[in-house]
């Protein structure tokens, strides 16, 4: 790994400011309703709220009881109610209740006209005070900021509903005004481009105070540019924990099988956790070795006590012991978690699953892979995993052969129910699971449509159809960008040589590779063919090419539609290699199951 002298990673800007801003505004909103009040909050926002303001802060501002807004009528004894909700029509529909009460509805991060219209229709618009809580960004860790908008993916990419784009633009604008001005902005994808435009407009309208930039470059990327990466099984520790235990808002709940007691324990997973911060980016095969080493170190640290006199013990107890105890607790938790992962993942099934994934990525033994998938479906292993493999097959192979397409779908429906017809329809629309088609079909369709309506609209329709036609072109991309390293070489996972380590050396994530290439070239020059294969919409704007400073080495990567922990790990690795620091902003943390669950349309 002789990459010359590595520069130290630059210091990361302080993002806790974002939390403070959100909290202050929340308190201000709560104070609008003086006296005791009940607070209602949407169920999926409990964890983000917890990050911003804990219960005691809320109590301080006279919040009496805290309720979740759920699928049942709202009952409260209090005369004053405060709602914290997303601008979702479903939620607004539940507000019918509570006439004759003082009601504040804080919608965050922005109110939508559609919700307002619904409130008006229901006749509660005049009775309530609606306010916007400009809570756009939640820092999950030093280098991860989330918009906590999981619906962004489905709304934007599947339904073509662009209402969140402006929100993303505003979030970027917020970062720009606090940590900017940005000097370079790159991006790829339709949504990225629109987000960029929205941000640019907001910059033009607002005032910009000159300040020292803390973030230099920005890279915007759409999730649909790279579907392969989130479909792959994660094997880096943090990703694995997410796949198995589901990390929610930087926090995971370890069940009894991990804690080896009868209780579940909630653990914050971030860089504050000394043990976790060292293993989060490691390939799982290294984790055990590391943990046992850590255990030994800990033992040694404990053992120091033996030869101490009273004074030293006093110092030891007051200064070190607490830290050690804490570390001890965490260590045992992570060991528990690893064991639990081992149990699940070292089974043959998982190994074979990985093998199949690697075959698909490499493009070898496709037939065998298909039969593996078929068996997987027939044995009803798991809906999501089967679907994931199907999609991975389709995306890497540019669609399935008509025969396979039909038979696999039929098998799937038999196994998991015919409701998935709609799921398939959605997947097809996104280009995740499609039938291989002879090349000219689309153009034929386009020209037909073109005859129907005038030129301008035809252009727009083509745009709309483009998702239908979206070819993944994965093979070509993989060849051009060298995404799949040659398999004959041994890959030492303990000493990773490139980002492929996050997938056991089998695949360099396309999204991260793109980012690397564009940053290296300072734009898209030389990548024309690649951007063509990715359906274009790439851009690179150099606002200000000053001499280098530290801010230039802080790069903000914004994933529109979610990113996985594996990608974050890969970017951390890349940052270390290049002596820069990546800050990941994402609409939500995703993984294969979240991605696919979002596209399901099964009865509730």
């Amino acid at each position: 790994m002789a990459h010359g002298v590595r520069r130290d990673s630059p210091k990361v800007p302080d993002f806790s400011l974002l939390k403070r801003l959100a909290r202050d505004q929340l308190i201000y909103l709560l104070e609008q309703l003086p006296g005791k009040k009940d607070l209602f909050i949407e169920a999926d926002l409990m964890s983000p709220l917890d990050r911003i303001a804990n219960v005691s802060t809320l109590k301080q501002h006279e919040v009496d009881k805290l309720y979740k807004v759920e699928n049942k009528p709202i009952i409260s004894a209090s005369d004053q109610l405060c709602f914290l909700i997303r601008p979702r029509i479903q939620t607004v529909n539940k507000m019918l209740i509570c006439k004759n009460k003082s009601l504040i509805i804080c919608i965050f991060p922005v109110q939508f006209y559609a919700c307002e219209a619904v409130m008006e229709e229901q006749g509660i618009f005049g009775d309530v005070t609606t306010d916007e809580w400009a809570f756009y960004l939640l820092p999950l860790d030093d280098d991860i900021i989330s918009l906590e908008l999981p619906e962004f993916f489905r709304d934007n990419f599947l339904a073509g509903d662009q209402r969140w784009v402006r929100t993303a633009g505003s979030a970027l604008h917020l970062l720009h005004s606090l940590y900017g001005p940005f000097s370079k902005i790159y991006g790829i994808g339709r949504c990225s481009k629109m987000t960029y435009e929205s941000w640019r407009k907001q910059v033009e309208e607002g005032e910009q105070r000159p300040r020292q930039a803390e973030i230099g470059s920005v890279f915007l990327i759409d999730r649909d540019v790279d579907f392969v990466t989130p479909l792959c099984s994660q094997v880096v520790y943090e990703g694995l924990v997410d796949d198995i235990f589901k990390i929610k808002c930087g926090c995971v709940e370890f069940g009894p099988d991990v804690t080896s007691s009868d209780k579940s324990i909630k653990v914050m997973l971030n860089s504050q956790d000394k043990v976790f911060s060292e293993i989060r980016n490691e390939h799982f095969s290294n984790v055990f070795g590391f943990l046992s080493q850590k255990a030994r170190n800990l033992q040694t640290a404990y053992d120091k006590r033996q030869g101490m006199d009273i004074q030293q013990i006093k110092v030891f107890v007051s200064e070190e012991l607490k830290g050690l105890k804490q570390e001890h607790r965490l260590l045992s938790l992570h060991i528990g978690a690893s064991e639990s992962i081992m149990k699940k993942k070292t089974k043959q099934d998982f190994q074979e699953l990985l093998k199949t994934e690697h075959c698909l990525l490499e493009g070898f033994e496709i037939r065998e892979s298909i039969s593996f998938i078929e068996e997987h479906i027939n044995r009803q292993v798991s809906t999501i995993e089967s679907l994931k493999l199907l999609c991975l097959l389709s995306v890497t192979e540019n669609g399935l052969l008509p025969k396979d397409y039909r038979s696999l779908k039929a098998q799937f429906l038999q196994s998991y129910g015919v409701d998935h017809l709609l799921t398939f329809s959605n997947l097809r629309q996104l280009g995740l699971l499609v039938e291989q088609q002879p090349g000219e079909t689309l153009t034929v369709m386009e020209s037909k449509v073109g005859k129907l309506v005038n030129d301008k609209t035809a252009g727009k329709l083509t745009d709309a159809f483009s998702s239908l036609a979206k070819k993944s072109n994965f093979r070509a991309l993989s060849r051009k960008l060298n995404l799949v390293p040659k398999s004959d070489e041994e890959y030492d996972l303990r000493v990773p040589r490139d980002m492929a380590y996050i997938f056991s050396g089998a695949y360099v994530p396309l999204s991260c590779k793109l980012i690397e290439q564009v940053l290296e070239r300072d734009g898209w020059t030389g990548l024309e063919e690649i951007s063509r294969l990715l359906n274009g919409h790439e851009f690179a704007v150099i606002v200000d090419s000053k001499q280098e400073n530290d801010a230039d080495r802080i790069i903000l990567v914004m994933f529109l539609g979610g990113c996985t922990f594996s990608e974050i790990s890969a970017l951390r690795f890349l940052g270390k290699e290049k002596g820069c620091k990546f800050i990941v902003v994402t609409t939500a943390i995703t993984n294969s199951s979240r991605l696919l669950e979002a596209l399901m349309d099964t009865p509730v």
Binding site: A114, A117, D155, G160, Q162, T457
Partner: protein, 833 residues
């Protein structure tokens, strides 16, 4: 220059001067006499209504509007009812109070803007007198009616009429009255003969000015510009002055005139030394100071007095003069033989110009007293108060000269005064006609001055001033351009094309000028085409949309909204269209705008399911229609409903040529019916399960026949069926059945599966039965699965597969010494080959 004091008249210890402002440009003679005249303070415009009382319908009185310098601005015949009073509002609008209580408002160019009424009862009783007054709340109007009642409104922009209580004993109109604003309250002060009353919202109280000794009838009253002082004139020729709250007396003076003066105004200035009241009779102008000293001026022509903040203007048919107390600083400098620092500096500079060494002497004198700074300041200040540009120049030059000898002197005051004087000289020019003094200018602020220039349509001058004074574009040039453009679009003689071009050329992309605002103006004047052209220049599409909607260009509005990327805006337009258009057109419009369409679809999915169906129907989108039916089948509780929904879905899928989905749905229907049958017959609880789950459930219930029927009916692949059967039998531990099943035909899933499933159900004995049937490739695995290391080793050695040997080795524990050796040997042998 030497005669600068020539027009100074002493009044007590102060001086008063009368400066000529203009030779009036108008061409009138006696009209001032028999016209209604309205003059606005702060050098505002003048309005004349000639012969207002001539009521013959054939000859209509002429209403004329002039600038303060007499330049005609507008003139038109008065067509409405008889006018009682004319007045100007603070924003230079002309208020015409008619006899019937209607107030008509005209702008300075004589175009009608709006009207309001002073109350219903006035129509009957008629307005006898009216007064327009200015207060911090804006412009107010007060009237007294034929039934002797007072009504007023303090702000005509926010009209609230107040009818005041009755005044006891008042018949007709009072002999004199004035409006006072004090302590945020508006009151009327009126006199009936010798009595004086204060009338406010609730009461009418008799008052008496302190020390008014001579109890004649009060025939005239006047309040000062600031409402602080009151002057009262009685028919005995006494003039009483005092504070307007009637607490304090300033002076009392006996004029030898018994006739009531035509006009009486206060003439004072901020920090006045010697305030005075100016009284005007037919032939005499009398200035009475509170010191009881007087100045008399003869009057040759009909004149009008205008009270100002810092003096009084006297307008006659030929001239206009400003009467004011000479500011102290000017007195100091110009008083004959003055030794004030400023006077010395002025003198020093004069000598310097003459290249005389006396300059040095004067300068030295100032310096010795160490008052050079004061001298400069005095000169600068005095220059501000002077009206004559030459005097201003002389003073400023002197100041500049003096400044050279000062090291630590901030030039900002000097520079500012220089600039402001240039601006003031420009607006005082007779072509513009705003005779503002420096004090007045400071009072109204530059912003207001620019507004007034804009209002009078002096656009180039306004822009020049903005640029010259370096006002930020937002408040300056842009604002002027905005007004200009709004005015330009109203020009009827120019084509849309020409106006759009010229507006775009001038306005360009000045910050803060909104094309949509200009376009809105154009639309207001009925020029829709022009509005659309102008909107094209608007960079922010968001701004274009509301106006386009207003103009009913909804299609355009929609595409602009989409362009803006603001989905809220798109949605606003969509909602608007939904209400405005019929359904078909609405859907057609959406169809051409995919972004709007998806947005609306999202909304419909949550709020209006039926509309969604219509939308798909309109587009002949059978695929989505089918999906819609499927989704709605989820909500059907009853099986029949569900089946009928699914049938509709099948039909639509067929139309969409999606035979796969059609078939799958048909099968689902068959399955549902089957499940229903089973549930009814056996109480199996199958409804809603997937095919696989159904078969599984059937098997676990022991209904193998039915399961088999499904297997055949739905053409379930053999593999699936074998897996299913295998698992189900193993779980129920029907080992014999399983063995029979395994022999029924060759297993499509191989036999390793059997081994594994048996092991999973903890039956090693049964598992071993199948090991021998496993294909050679899987033998090792099978042996390992049942935990038979030796068997595995043998199989691996037999197959000479190194990796398999490795796999076996990894499972060996240390106790299996022999086996390990054996394997290692075989391994070596294998590698050798």
């Amino acid at each position: 220059m030497a005669f600068i004091t020539a027009n100074w008249n002493p009044l007590g210890d102060a001086f008063y001067r009368k400066t000529e402002l203009y030779e009036m440009c108008w061409n009138i003679r006696d009209e001032l006499k028999d016209s209604l005249v309205a003059t606005a303070p702060y050098g505002g415009p003048i309005a004349l209504l000639r012969e207002p009382h001539r009521r013959s319908p054939s000859s209509r009185p002429q209403l004329e509007i002039y600038s303060a310098s007499g330049v005609a601005i507008a003139s038109f015949p008065w067509k409405s009812g008889p006018v009682v009073h004319l007045g100007w509002s603070v924003s230079d609008e002309l208020l015409c109070v008619q006899e019937d209580g209607t107030v008509l408002i005209y702008d300075v160019f004589g175009s009608f803007k709006r009207h309001f009424s002073m109350g219903q009862e006035v129509v009957q009783s008629q307005v006898l007198e009216a007064k327009v007054f200015h207060s911090p709340y804006g412009t107010g109007i007060a009237i007294v009616t034929g039934s002797s009642r007072f009504t007023f409104a303090t702000n005509i922009e926010d009209l609230k009429l107040r009818r005041l209580p009755e005044v006891p004993g008042l018949q007709g109109k009072p002999s004199s009255w004035v409006v006072l604003t004090q302590d945020r309250q508006t009151k009327v002060l009126l006199s009936i003969g010798p009595e004086l009353y204060v009338l406010d919202n609730t009461s009418c109280i008799a008052v008496c000015p302190p020390g008014l000794s001579q109890a004649g009838s009060i025939v005239h009253m006047s309040v000062s510009f600031s409402y602080k002082y009151l002057a009262v004139f009685t028919d005995t020729g006494h003039l009483w002055t005092g504070s307007s709250n009637l607490q304090e007396k300033l002076s009392e003076f006996k004029t030898n005139q018994t006739a009531a003066p035509k006009q009486m105004v206060w003439c004072r200035r901020p920090k006045s030394q010697q305030p005075s009241v100016v009284l005007m009779w037919e032939r005499l102008l009398l200035v009475v100071g509170v010191c009881n000293d007087t100045i008399q001026f003869p009057i040759e022509e009909q004149s009008v007095l205008v009270g100002e903040l810092d003096g009084a203007r006297i307008i006659s048919s030929t001239h206009q003069e400003l009467l004011q107390e000479v500011p102290l600083v000017c007195q100091d400098i110009f008083k004959i033989a003055s030794m004030a620092p400023g006077a010395l500096l002025l003198e020093a500079h004069r000598e310097y110009e003459k290249s005389s060494q006396k300059a040095d002497e004067y300068l030295r004198e100032i310096k010795e007293q160490n008052v050079l700074g004061d001298a400069v300041r005095q000169c600068v200040e005095a220059a501000g108060h002077e009206y004559d540009p030459d005097t201003q120049k002389a003073l400023m030059r002197a100041a500049s000269f003096g400044k050279c000898f000062l090291t630590d002197f901030s030039p900002s005051h000097f520079v500012m005064t220089c600039r402001e004087l240039r601006v003031l000289n420009a607006v005082r020019d007779s072509s513009v006609g705003m005779p503002l003094t420096h004090t007045q200018f400071k009072q109204i602020t530059l912003q207001v001055l620019i507004d007034r220039l804009v209002y009078r349509q002096f656009y180039p001058l306004a822009i020049e001033i903005c640029r010259y004074l370096k006002i930020p574009d937002y408040q300056g040039v842009s604002r002027v351009l905005k007004h200009w453009a709004s005015c330009k679009v109203q020009q009827k003689d120019l084509s849309d094309e020409a106006i759009a071009r010229v507006v775009c050329h001038k306005v360009g992309d000045s910050p803060g000028v909104s094309y949509s605002h200009i376009a809105a103006k154009a639309y207001e004047c009925g020029r829709t085409e022009l509005a659309i052209k102008l909107l094209d220049f608007e960079a922010r599409s968001g701004e274009q949309v509301p106006l386009l909607l207003k103009m009913k260009r909804s299609q355009l509005a929609l595409s602009k909204a989409v362009e803006s990327g603001d989905t809220d805006l798109v949605y606003t337009v969509v909602t608007y269209l939904k209400n405005e258009m019929n359904r078909g057109d609405f859907f057609m419009t959406l169809r051409n705008q995919p972004v709007a369409l998806s947005l609306y679809r999202q909304f419909c999915k949550l709020q209006e399911q039926d509309t969604l169906k219509d939308l798909y129907n309109q587009d002949d989108d059978h695929q989505e229609l089918a999906n819609f039916h499927i989704r709605s089948s989820y909500r059907e509780q009853r099986l029949e409903g569900r089946l009928s929904r699914l049938q509709s879905a099948v039909d639509e899928y067929n139309k969409a040529k999606n035979d796969f989905a059609a078939k799958a749905t048909e099968e689902e229907m068959r399955l549902l019916r089957f499940q229903r049958k089973m549930d009814d017959e056996k109480g199996a609880g199958l409804l809603g399960l997937s095919l696989q789950a159904t078969m599984e459930a059937l098997m676990s219930l022991g209904l193998h026949k039915q399961a088999e029927q499904l297997y055949k009916d739905f053409r379930v692949p053999d593999k699936r069926y074998w897996w299913l059967k295998l698992k189900s039998m193993a779980e129920k531990e029907e080992w014999e059945e399983l063995e029979k099943f395994s022999k029924s035909k060759k297993s499509p899933i191989g036999y390793l599966a059997f081994v594994e499933v048996c092991m999973k159900n903890n039956n090693r004995y049964e598992a071993k039965k199948y090991v021998c049937k496993v294909t050679p490739e899987q033998k090792v695995k099978a042996h390992l699965a049942v935990g038979d290391l030796e068997g595995a080793a043998d199989a691996a050695i037999e197959r000479r597969s190194e990796s398999e040997m490795g796999a076996v080795l990894s499972r060996c524990s240390a106790s299996d010494r022999l086996l390990i050796d054996k394997l290692n040997r075989a391994r070596v042998a294998a590698t050798k080959k």
